[in-house]
Amino acid sequence: MPWFNIPQPVASLLGKSTLVTFGDSITNDGFAPAPNYTTRLGLTLNVTITNEGIVDSPLQNTNRIPEGTPKSNNGRDRYVADLTGAAKKDLVVILYGTNDLINNDGGETYTSVLFKADYQEVITGLLAAGYAANEIILCSTPWFENGYSNVPGGEAEGLLYDTAIRDLAVSNGTLFADTYAALKDNVDAYQVDGVHPNLLGQQLLSVAIANAAIITL
């Protein structure tokens, strides 16, 4: 096992009590080998974790073809219930994009432009709900170890999503965690499907997220 540099979180992440992780199966406990990145974040930041990762969830609520409806449990449609009001926590980590990329096949209508628009709506809602910008961590969509074989447009399409997430972090003043870079080219960090991080991948994710920072273009 390599030496991981212990994270040194920015001040806005310290002294908090609760954190919610919001995303897909990479975040969901059932798909992530324990202890997953959410558990590790809890230890690193000394906060209680609520895991709102849902398997197969994309962020955008774009209508699909031929269903003509958004995918259920998409992040855009569930963030109010899962992250605000009584569900509000001190900190929120958003790790999305994988299913938006995978679902962009067979005539689907998902795009990075629509992803960015829906993501902005989520961020605007979180700010209105009382989260400070530096209490929100946006994570770039993790690298696909399978060569983006299930993503039309391949890695280039993935980078469009990551650029969108970076732009959102800059324009909204949120924290940004480069979880794409943390996993890129690390073939030892994945489960056999080449999409879900294994234990090493979860360790790398936790370090990258705990080191989230304000970025500029």
Binding site: F4, I6, L43, S206
Partner: protein
């Protein structure tokens, strides 16, 4: 005093590489055992009777009983000498009198059987870093206070760091936080012991390097030490 002020305090000159890392670059070093430095090891036909402290404070560890002595000169890690342990091997150190401290321990386990302690207070009732028949590392004080969430792989170098600030303890393994706990330590001042202790005799691992500081060193300093040990011992 001059030596203390000189430790790593000078600003780096542009274009001039700084001095290589050394454990005593970190302020507060009380004990530093380095198996790669064979000049610090006293042995008879490979059986180690004394392991000298490199902190400069003379806190050497010793074992006079041949049956309990580690072996040197028989095994290497990344080309460097290590102390090889088998059941019952241990060494006695001195009482450092610390209630706030950092312990760093680099080791290679050969099995997960029984205790596989690296360093503890005498009789193992406080400050122990060990396995207890598992593939984990534990902070022990009359009971398991912190058990690592990550595991130690047999044959791989592991680097454990344990900090205590009064009652607050934190355990790191290979640069990942493993947990924190708050508890009252059992004894305030007992001598340190390396390896097997009390009724837990097994010691099936190689010891590479151990250091103790009289303060909770910073995360930056832990990372500096971890990166150095990782490179040195071939993690």
């Amino acid at each position: 005093m001059l030596k203390l002020l000189g430790r790593g305090m000078s600003p780096a000159k542009p274009g001039v590489p700084g001095p290589p890392f050394s454990m005593d670059n970190i302020f507060g070093l009380q004990l530093w055992l380095d198996a790669s430095d064979t000049t610090t090891i006293t042995d008879t036909a490979g059986s180690v009777s004394q392991w000298d402290d490199k902190s400069g404070l003379g806190n050497h560890c010793a074992q006079a009983t041949p049956a309990e002595q580690y072996t040197t000169g028989s095994r290497t890690q990344n080309g460097l000498n290590v102390l090889d342990g088998v059941s019952g091997n241990n060494m006695d150190g001195v009482n450092l009198g610390l209630s706030t401290y950092t312990i760093v321990s680099a080791f290679v386990r050969d099995s997960n059987s029984l205790t596989n302690n690296t360093i503890s207070k005498v009789s193992g009732k406080n400050d122990a870093l060990f396995g207890s028949d598992t593939d984990t590392v534990k902070d022990y004080a009359g009971g398991d206070k912190i058990t690592s969430i990550d595991t130690v792989t047999i044959g791989d170098v592991a680097i454990a760091v344990n900090t205590h600030s009064g009652a607050l303890a934190t355990l790191y393994l290979n640069g990942l936080i493993q947990g924190t706990a708050s508890y009252t330590m059992l004894t305030g001042g007992a001598s340190y012991q390396i390896g097997a202790f009390g009724g837990f005799a097994n010691q099936d691992q190689a010891l590479l390097e151990i250091a103790v500081f009289n303060r909770v060193i910073s995360i930056s300093e832990i990372n500096q030490i971890g990166s150095h040990l990782s490179s040195k011992w071939g993690v």
